[in-house]
């Protein structure tokens, strides 16, 4: 009944495979960001496959946010190489921005615009045509079951719905990669799972998902996770392999073992 | 008491560790005094003047000759009547006019003396004052020429009327205005922001859930800003005296007492605002819109009140700084005593008590 479960299986099943060759959505090689004498990101290297759900974990102040900003085309690395959706983080920031979606817990939607206005706004920002916005937004509203709320202000929505809507908006322009910065903070367990259903669906449709979270059970929803400690990637594997490696059955313990020795911690 | 002192100490830490607050506290008064002081004292030249000469005699011709000879004035076409003068004032063609009565020459030898009417556009009060001074000295000179022996029988009495701004606000009057403005910024805006910041931080919740009496929070917030306002006040006075050579004519004690009264009014306003708002931004907006703008516009220190529509003139009566401005002007610049400003003082006392009571009442012991 049980089958052996290996890394390769996972990849061939879930990564988008084109002509048998694994496509890379993100490639990082020796990426470093230095602020004065402080190395926020210290020589990190990793790949993210196309269509993969990649968990990007780390203690507070480990350098996650800085790394994510570089990958989103918002800041330049000090040294090292990286491409996102095939575009260079030094020279092609604008093209990166066009090909990614971004959502965070802190900023997602405009509270004083209606749902539809928010969708139209983001669609417009990413250059989706007017007619296309109309079609896609009515699709979106009906899949989310928000027909009644479409003309309500976002501020009137419960938090869980806001986050779901924000995610939908982040992938509205059908980006190659979507970056999610602690998307489910404070959301109830049921809504959190509905949110992850949406993530799975997006990944199944070929969108690469790059996500940070403080919920360790969510880390296990990811195909692979990396754990950053003091600016470096200390571990990178499937959740199952990591647990095996640290001889535990909880991601919490894995994380604790890795991050316990962290020297620096600041926000 | 120990708690209160610790709190006040903490407030001073906040102030001295925030560069922006420091800049507002000490940079602003200095810059304003220097800016107003020097920008307003420019020399006056080429003033457009028209003469309505009803006498047309030797004396008037000589006086007109003297006026036109200097570089101060440009004598325009003579006017025929008052209506014409007024029109030309309105059109901005002239800034000043001299009117000679019909019997100027014969009046000259009468005991009452001859009268010249001098009219100046005082919507720019500084220019108007300068113009009047020039004209006065020209007329004075001529008087002396006529009567070198200084017999009292020949006299020309200039009757000066400052159009549009009869009280002639301006010149050094900006100093009381700047003082009022600084008090508003420090005592109203900064205080309200300081209280609201605690709300935003969440520290207000802790302070409320402590044995520390809520009212003490307000007092502890108010005291440092009262002190800082007074420091600013002293800086402004020193700048005025040593940099702009202003003579402080009235009693310093009275000036300080009135200022403390006004600061308390401002503080109460600030505390009231902080009780009604939840974010620093809103507090700042209300302080600016509700307090500083009226101070600038409705106290008469930037724009003469007399020229304003009636509505604004009535509105100005509820602006506390209007009274403070008038008190300081009277005491500091004119050297008047308390008996001249008791009415304004009383109004300020009433306002301060009212606002303070309201602020304390509105202060919630809960969220």
């Amino acid at each position: 009944m049980k089958k052996n479960y290996s890394n390769e299986d996972l990849h061939s099943e879930q990564g988008a495979t084109i002509s048998g060759q694994q496509q890379k959505a993100i490639v990082c090689n020796g990426l470093t960001k230095q602020f004065g004498s402080f190395r926020a990101v210290d020589n990190i290297s990793f790949d993210v496959n196309e269509g993969e759900i990649f968990g990007f974990l780390g203690a507070n102040g480990a350098g996650k946010t800085t790394a994510m900003r570089i990958l989103c085309g918002l800041s330049y690395p000090t040294s090292g190489e990286a491409t996102v959706a095939g575009f260079d983080v030094y020279k092609q920031q604008e093209r990166i921005k066009k090909n990614i979606g971004y959502m965070s817990q802190k900023f997602s939607l405009y509270d004083n615009l209606t749902l539809l206005e928010n969708i139209e706004f983001y669609g417009g920002v990413y250059g989706v045509s007017r007619s296309e916005i109309k079609i896609r937004s009515s699709d979106l509203i009906s899949t989310l079951g928000l027909q009644k709320e479409a003309h309500k202000l976002v501020s009137e929505l419960p938090l869980g719905w806001k986050q779901k809507l924000a995610f939908s908006v982040a992938i509205f322009h059908r980006p190659k990669i979507v970056f999610l910065d602690e998307p489910t903070g404070g959301v109830d367990p049921v809504t959190r799972r509905q949110f992850w259903d949406m993530i799975y669906e997006a990944a199944a449709n070929g969108i690469t998902v790059f996500v940070t979270t403080h919920y360790m059970d969510e880390a296990e929803y990811c195909n692979r996770i990396s754990v950053m400690v003091d600016g470096r990637v200390e571990a990178l594997d499937t959740p199952a392999n990591l647990k095996k490696q640290y001889k535990t059955n909880s991601m919490n313990d894995v994380f604790y073992e890795l991050a316990r020795g962290a020297k620096r911690a600041d926000n | 008491m120990k708690q209160l002192l610790a709190f006040i100490k903490k407030e001073f830490y906040h102030v001295f560790r925030d560069r922006r607050t420091l800049l507002i506290l000490f940079g602003m008064p200095i810059v304003q005094i220097i800016l107003f002081g020097f920008a307003l004292s420019s020399e006056v030249k080429n003033i457009g003047i028209a003469v309505l000469d009803n006498a047309r005699d030797v004396h008037t011709q000589q006086i007109i000759g003297k006026i036109s000879s200097g570089y101060y004035f440009r004598v325009k076409q003579p006017a025929l009547n008052f209506q014409e003068l007024e029109q030309r004032f309105r059109a901005g063609e002239i800034e000043c006019a001299v009117v000679f009565p019909e019997k100027f020459a014969s009046d000259l030898y009468k005991p009452g003396g001859a009268h010249i009417q001098v009219i100046a556009d005082a919507s720019d009060p500084n220019t108007a004052t300068t113009v009047i001074n020039y004209l006065n000295s020209i007329i004075g000179n001529y008087e002396q020429e006529l009567n070198p022996l200084r017999k009292l029988s020949y006299r020309i009495v200039p009757e000066i009327r400052m159009l549009y701004n009869e009280e002639q606000n301006g010149s050094l009057n900006f100093i009381p205005g700047v003082i009022a403005l600084i008090f508003m910024i420090v005592s109203t805006a900064l205080t309200s922001v300081a209280v609201v910041r605690e709300k935003e931080l969440g520290t207000m919740e802790i302070l409320l859930v402590s044995p520390f009496r809520p009212i003490m929070v307000l007092i502890a917030k108010a005291v440092p800003y009262l002190v800082l306002s007074l420091v600013d006040f002293i800086i402004i006075l020193l700048l005025a005296v040593f940099l702009l050579n202003v003579e402080i004519r009235g009693s310093l004690v009275l000036i300080f007492a009135e200022s403390i009264l006004f600061i308390i009014t401002c503080l109460s306003m600030g505390l009231l605002i902080s009780n009604l708002t939840g974010s620093q931004q809103t507090a700042m907006m209300i302080s600016m819109m509700g307090m500083m703008l009226p101070t600038l516009i409705l106290t008469g220190f930037m724009f003469p009140l007399e020229n304003m529509p009636k509505v604004f003139q009535i509105l100005s009566y509820i602006v506390p700084s209007k009274y403070y401005y008038s008190i300081i002007k009277s005491v500091m610049l004119k050297g008047l005593g308390f008996s001249y400003v008791w009415k304004e003082t009383l109004i300020l006392v009433i306002m301060a008590t009212g606002l303070l009571t309201l602020a304390l009442r509105k202060f919630n012991v809960r969220l």
């Binding site: 938090l159 403080h214 | 931080l201 969440g202």
Partner: protein, 312 residues
């Protein structure tokens, strides 16, 4: 006497019902957890108990004092750490601490025993400004500030939100030490995995307490047998299981999918048969003991069911 008693508290903001008729009590020396997501009403409850907010109806007492009438007494006896509390960023660690000590009418030295363990961890940063501390350090400093006057009851509103796993674990260790000193602790958290660290918990959602009990009891009260399954393609497995008419509930849980079936007499053999129908690679099915999160999901879905029934 109970340390905290809450009876039928209701709190509304305009049309929003934040707290709907909540009742519970906390025994002296107990570590009591309010577990629920943002917007569940936890903060409103805390504010009512710390006398910061007046409830619309219902009563509450803390250490026997009424939260409305005797608010001054309560304020002398409780320590409170609000959710968004971030201290004075521009004051140093020591200045913050001594300020709060003075405000509470005490000194750092007087109650040093109580905060010693925690304070020693932040003491090396004594002269650093609070704004420059890490998230975990800030929490520790905030806890010190809340403890400085040796309160009888400690109210901690989401002290571990946004803090990483390591700091969270340390924080809970500190709470357990404090508990041993006899302080009653009421703590709220959105992290379900922290529930098991409390003596008793209230699961709260949408302003309603869904269940109050010890974590063990809540787990024991789970009405169904819970199964877990995983396969190489977990998303496909989830979809297939959901389509299955025998399923009652089915959701992702860590690397597994947790599910219950409608039949009450389900055993692992039959369940495996159901799961195997779709021919998944790497399929693994097992029976598991539910966690607090499973219970929370169950209770949420049940209450959702009830709401829907009422609508019909």
């Amino acid at each position: 006497m109970n340390s905290v008693e809450v009876i039928n508290i209701v709190k509304t903001y305009g049309e929003v019902k934040a707290v709907k008729n909540v009742s519970f009590e906390v025994a002296k020396g107990e570590l009591f957890g309010l577990i629920g997501p943002d917007g569940a009403g936890k903060t409103s409850l805390f504010r009512v108990l710390t006398t910061l907010l007046l409830a619309d109806s219902g009563t509450a007492t803390v250490e026997g004092f009424d939260v409305v009438k005797d608010y001054r007494e309560i304020r002398n006896r409780v320590g409170y750490m609000p959710g968004r509390f971030s201290l004075y960023q521009d004051l140093t660690v020591e200045e913050n601490l001594s300020f709060f000590a003075t405000v509470f009418g005490t000194t750092i030295r007087e109650n040093y025993d109580l905060i010693k363990d925690i304070y020693e961890q932040i003491a090396p940063f004594n002269s650093r400004r609070a704004g420059k501390l890490s998230g975990g350090m800030k929490q520790k400093l905030a806890l010190c500030c809340a403890l400085i006057h040796k309160p009888d009851v400690l109210f901690l509103d989401e002290p571990t939100t946004g803090v990483d796993v390591v700091s969270r674990r340390e924080f809970w260790e500190m709470l357990n030490k404090l508990k041993k000193q006899g302080i009653t602790i009421v703590v709220s958290t959105p992290y379900m995995d922290e529930a098991s660290l409390c003596d008793r918990i209230a699961l709260i959602q949408d302003g309603t307490v869904m269940s109050i009990n010890s974590p063990d009891r809540i787990v024991k009260n789970f009405p169904k047998t819970l199964f877990a399954a995983k396969a190489n393609n977990i998303y496909k497995l989830l979809q297939d299981l959901r389509r299955n008419s025998e399923m009652e509930s089915c959701y992702a849980f860590g690397e597994y999918i947790h599910f219950t079936v409608k039949a009450d007499d389900a055993d692992i053999v039959r369940i495996s048969q159901i799961a195997e129908r779709e021919n998944h690679d790497g399929l693994e099915v097992k029976q598991v003991i539910p966690g607090i999160e499973d219970c929370f999901i169950r209770l949420t879905l049940d209450s959702g069911q009830k709401i829907m029934d009422r609508k019909k």
